[in-house]
């Protein structure tokens, strides 16, 4: 760098604030910045003291807002799902969520679980009817509905879901009259549906499609239903009924009514034979049954729990559809 340039730089370097100017500017600056405190001074009390409840409530409001949105959203979906039919996207929600809530709240509302299940069976059948009316009742949907019905019947019966529920029809296998297994093959619904005109007493009910060795579809309560071989039906009211037994008997009565009410779709769904209704069967001890097999439930005051042939004597049930 040449001398002139050096001199110029030196002159420029000498340019600076005087000590007086510097002090004055600094004092003004301190005064100014004291009017604009650092953000930490403003935020520090908020972080520890009085502002904490505000923050808490702010989060609480956010949480409530989220909860509200979820509730409204779920409620709306649930409402839409309620109108859905098998095969619809929201139908699984109807089955698991809506009906799950119904099942959970039923005991608290004083409704027996079995009664709820009867209503749900009715619902399944009505859904099937709607699908059939819309010509949407495909074989797959039929099977799905049958599975649901079987599960619900199993709950009513306090048994495992019927293993061979997917069988489209029950198979009635001829057996000899001397076969004393006949009575055990009668469902507690008190009726069976012979598929031919052979004597009902020579029929044994199986529910399998191809394999008769599969579990029978009979819904056989262990204690409540008494079967009496030889057609000597009648009420066996020796054992006192528990509340559970009464509920079950009422539910079975209700189920029978539902099945009767929706018999057309029951037949269209090809539900297992035990779900089908025969003439003369029904609540209050109406005569029916198979081959003298007296199937009855313990007496209850309402009389609604007695199914099948109470009078026995070989009176075979007549298939209504015949």
């Amino acid at each position: 760098m040449d001398e002139k340039s050096k001199k110029l730089i030196e002159v420029l370097k000498q340019t600076h604030l005087s000590s007086g100017e510097r002090k004055q500017l600094c004092a003004e600056l301190v005064a100014d910045i004291s009017k604009m405190p650092a953000s930490t001074e403003v935020l520090a009390p908020q972080a520890s003291g009085p502002s904490w409840p505000w923050q808490y409530f702010a989060w609480q409001r956010v949480a409530w807002a989220i909860a509200l949105v979820l509730i409204i959203g779920t409620g709306s979906l649930s409402a839409f799902a309620e109108q859905s039919l098998p095969g619809d996207r929201l139908y699984p929600m109807k089955l698991s969520f809506n009906e799950g809530i119904v099942r959970l709240t039923a005991p608290a509302l004083g409704s027996p679980v079995s009664e709820v299940e009867v209503k749900l069976v009715k619902r399944r059948l009505e859904e099937a009817e709607k699908l059939a009316s819309q010509e949407r009742l495909s074989p797959i949907l039929k099977e799905q509905i049958k599975i649901q019905v079987a599960k619900q019947v199993a709950v009513i019966n306090r048994a495992e879901p019927i293993a061979a529920v997917s069988a489209p029809v029950a198979v009635l296998t001829p057996v000899s009259e001397s076969d004393d297994t006949i009575p055990t093959a009668v469902s507690e619904l008190g009726d069976t549906k012979p598929v031919d005109n052979r004597e009902a007493g020579s029929m044994k009910v199986f529910s399998t499609l191809d394999d008769v060795t599969a579990p029978s579809v009979t819904i056989e309560p262990k204690t409540e239903i008494q079967t009496e071989a030889g057609g000597s039906g009648g009420v066996s009211g020796d054992m006192p009924m528990t509340k559970m037994e009464i509920e079950k008997a009422e539910a079975l009565s209700g189920l029978k009514e539902v099945l009767e009410e929706h018999q057309t779709i029951v037949e269209e769904l090809e539900l297992p034979t035990i779900y089908q209704v025969t003439e003369g069967s029904g609540p209050a001890g109406a005569g029916g049954g198979v081959g003298g097999a007296g199937v009855k439930l313990p007496n209850i005051e309402s009389g609604a729990a007695s199914y099948g042939a109470s009078s026995g004597g070989g009176g075979g049930g007549t298939k209504k559809s015949d």
Binding site: L12, L29, A38
Partner: protein
């Protein structure tokens, strides 16, 4: 007090860079009082960043950037009146200087500096008046160090030609 360290840190930066910012403003405006005012404004604006706890990587770069923006604003208001014009009108940029000899030297220095391009003025000032290394200038301007070194060398050559 939670804010005190921040204020103390800021005043420390003021002590370190007040003269440099003042010079920057003074060389560009040739008005001592105005340069003081712009310096004050520069630090006040910087404080608004500081107080919010923003991450400031380079304090000097921030101050220079603010000062430059303020100078540009001032220029826009002044409708670009050149120093030569001002001097011809009797404007005395170093009025507070007591020594007439000093005044003459500064006027001479400012006149010559102002004849350089804006970019050259800035590089000469930063490198030789503020004693910043090419590396720091490069960081300040966001450019490569080699590039800055070359440009400083060329700016110095142009200054030499002007004053000889």
């Amino acid at each position: 007090m939670a804010g005190k360290p921040k204020e103390a840190e800021f005043l420390k930066a003021y002590e370190a860079y007040a003269d440099a910012i003042f010079r920057r403003c003074f060389f560009k405006t040739s008005d001592r009082e105005l340069a003081k005012d712009l310096t004050q404004q520069t630090f006040l604006r910087a404080w608004t960043y500081w107080r919010e706890g923003r991450d400031i990587e380079n304090e000097r770069a921030l101050l220079y950037r603010i000062a430059n923006n303020l100078i540009i604003d001032w220029y826009r208001q002044r409708k670009s009146e050149s120093l030569d014009d001002l001097l011809e009108k009797g404007f005395d940029p170093v009025a507070e200087r007591e020594s007439t000899e000093d005044k003459a030297e500064i006027s001479w220095a400012l006149q010559n500096l102002s004849r350089l391009k804006e970019e050259d003025q800035e590089l000469i000032t930063l490198r030789f008046v503020e004693d910043m290394s090419p590396k720091d200038i490069a960081a300040l301007k966001g450019e490569k160090e080699n590039n800055i070194s070359v440009r400083i060398h060329r700016a110095l050559g142009r200054l030499r030609k002007l004053i000889t």
